[in-house]
């Protein structure tokens, strides 16, 4: 860089320099970066502990530049509870996929939210199980083909159910202080998502904070990255509307 120019976008120090194992175009990488930038901007890297889930983002512990704990499948909110109760002075976040959070870990996320654990949960919703090869997730759209819904998710005869909307569901609880859903599909969306994540961290020590992110899985969906982003915008966002479902401080 010469003195005649200024960097307007660069690599955050909240991330390690390790190349990720994510597929090309997978938005897990974007979500990671937003969390890392938040940690940077709040200057809390040395006070933060993150939980990596089981799922494609299991290796998140290699990518975040803070202390990390790898949690068993679905139990990151319970593990985070153990961390935060023991060390209330730390910033604690969990990063989870939809299989992890909304399927096997459904009881753990709801109870952590209901107890008002002072943690931030980053929920990457890509409507599929990426890691294990593209099986149906609780958030899979109706009609979507996956390796376990070969004829498309069928809530009728096959009884495979409808997509579960976690943000709405958690918003039926009294305790959480911040619940939002954002998307990562365009630069504009990403900037909004970033603000949401930052707000969640800022509110963390007042109660439970939750940021759902509509993401993609080009590999699991069998689409190119660009197609994936378009498809998610067209098909997922109507089912998973963007918005703030709880912000106690703002009276929402």
């Amino acid at each position: 860089m010469s003195a005649e120019e200024k960097i307007v976008f660069s690599y955050p120090t909240g991330l390690t320099t390790k190349n990720t194992h994510y597929c090309p175009g997978c938005l897990h990488g974007v979500a990671h970066r937003l969390v890392a930038e938040t940690i940077d901007e709040l200057g809390i890297r040395e006070k933060t502990v993150g939980m990596a889930p089981v799922g494609c983002s299991v290796l998140a512990y290699e990518y975040f530049g803070c202390d990390m704990v790898q949690a068993s499948h679905g139990r990151a909110p319970a593990v985070a509870t153990g961390v935060k109760r023991a060390r209330p002075d730390l910033y604690v976040f969990s990063y989870q996929g939809d299989g992890d959070l909304a399927s096997i870990g459904l009881a753990e996320i709801i109870h952590a939210a209901n107890r008002g654990e002072k943690i931030t949960v980053i929920f990457y919703n890509n409507a599929i199980y990426g890691m294990t090869g593209g099986q149906m997730a609780p958030t899979t759209l109706v009609g979507m083909k996956t390796t376990t819904t070969p004829t498309g998710r069928d809530p009728g005869e096959r009884g495979a159910g409808n997509p579960i909307r976690m943000a709405e569901l958690l918003a039926t609880l009294f305790t959480p202080v911040y619940i939002t859903r954002q998307s990562l599909l365009t630069p504009q969306d990403i900037l909004k998502a970033k603000r949401a994540i930052k707000r969640a961290f800022q509110l963390q020590n007042t109660g439970f904070t939750f940021v759902e992110l509509v993401g993609t899985c080009p590999t699991g969906w069998g689409m190119t990255p660009s197609e994936s982003n378009d498809w998610a915008g067209e098909k997922m966002v109507p089912v998973f509307p963007i918005g703030v479902f709880r912000d106690t401080e703002k009276g929402i």
Partner: protein, 351 residues
């Protein structure tokens, strides 16, 4: 030191607090409800925290979290609840986290019953999934439970490994006088804990090793610790074994009951003794092995259908015949029943 008459479950909880346990995560299940109940009062007094977890699965993952930051933490449950903790215990072992877990056993299988049992010997000593061991301590009295719980925290920290207290419903429910000793002042290295990466590289608590060679190396590392436990941590009580021609193998409350029977048999002139494993893993092999040649028959007594008996047979290399007497499902063997067994064996041996 003041003596207090305390219920086993409450004494166990108090011992944990005195050992520096700051966090407890548990879920109700009979016959150990008094542990979480006691902790819900006690821990907030010492600046710690109690959470009634939504399930045993959650509780066992919460202790994983607290252990990861280097705090002393405990959970407790009973048999079916312990089954639900198996995955997380394996994670704790894999990630080398010091946790203390209390199992106040009841009868099974399935929902079973709520009365005392020892049917989780296998679940405790030969756990799955993956190759690992918890260090397993089996108290036979409330005083011993208290002492072992305090030791458990040190052992967990020393080995960075789960330590199980395996007791039956009687230990959980009965009252006996206890005294609490001072905790040791041992200091343990916790530089591995995730406490915020101030002036150091980030720490990672993890049990995933995608490269088989790495995972094999990790397994070997763990097994070096288990080998050290086998060398250094074996505990066993021998009672009247010096001249014993018959011996009983029993742990926990069953061993106390057996001792009453041994005393009675001795008054009848039967040379019988008792070997009581206190650590179930590491199993006190040598304590058994050395009686090959001296003891003519071993009687293994359990409140289960015969689980520890395999370790007993292995310990004596099948060179002493090992007989079995078991009661299950909440039935507690009486001293008289065991005495009858001893008498029969004594007759057999003398023929």
């Amino acid at each position: 030191m003041e003596k207090l008459l305390m219920k086993g479950s409450e004494a166990i909880a108090e011992a944990a607090v005195r050992a520096g346990c700051k966090l407890f995560f548990g879920y109700p299940i009979t016959p150990q409800n008094e542990i979480p109940e006691y902790m819900s009062k006690r821990l907030f007094q010492v600046g710690g925290a109690f959470v009634q977890a939504e399930s045993e699965v959650a509780a066992s993952n919460m202790i994983y979290g607290s252990a990861a930051v280097g705090e002393r933490v405990m959970t407790s449950s009973s048999s079916p609840g312990m089954a639900l903790k198996q995955e997380a215990i394996s994670y704790c072992a894999g990630a080398e986290l010091p946790v203390v877990i209390v199992n106040i056993m009841r009868g099974g299988p399935g929902l079973g019953g709520i009365q005392p049992s020892q049917s989780d010997y296998w679940q405790a000593t030969k756990p799955g999934h993956g190759d690992f061991h918890s260090l397993v301590l089996a108290p036979a009295s409330i005083q011993e439970a208290v002492d072992l719980v305090m030791d458990a925290f040190d052992l967990a920290d020393q080995y960075r490994n789960p330590v199980l207290i395996l007791a039956d419903g009687l230990i959980g429910q009965m009252m006996e006088p206890v005294t609490f000793r001072q905790p040791t002042e041992r200091v343990f290295d916790k530089s591995w804990a995730v406490t915020g990466c101030v002036d150091r590289k980030p720490n990672i608590v993890n049990s995933l090793f995608l490269q088989p060679q790495d995972l094999e190396d990790h397994n070997h590392k763990l097994f070096r610790k288990y080998a050290q436990m086998e060398r250094e941590e074996v505990r066993v009580e021998e009672y009247l074994m010096d001249d014993a021609e018959l011996a009983i193998a029993a742990y926990g409350t069953t061993a106390r009951i057996a001792r009453t029977a041994v005393d009675a048999a001795r008054t009848e002139g039967i040379k019988v003794g008792l070997i009581r494993p206190i650590t179930l893993f590491p199993f006190p092999k040598a304590a058994f092995e050395r009686y090959v040649g001296q003891v003519k028959v071993l009687l293994d007594v359990e409140m289960s259908m015969g689980q520890m008996i395999e370790d007993v047979r292995l310990a004596v290399h099948d060179r002493i015949p090992v007989r079995f007497y078991g009661r299950v499902g909440g039935m507690v063997p009486s001293p008289g029943e065991i005495l009858d067994q001893i008498r029969t064996l004594a007759q057999e041996v003398s023929q």
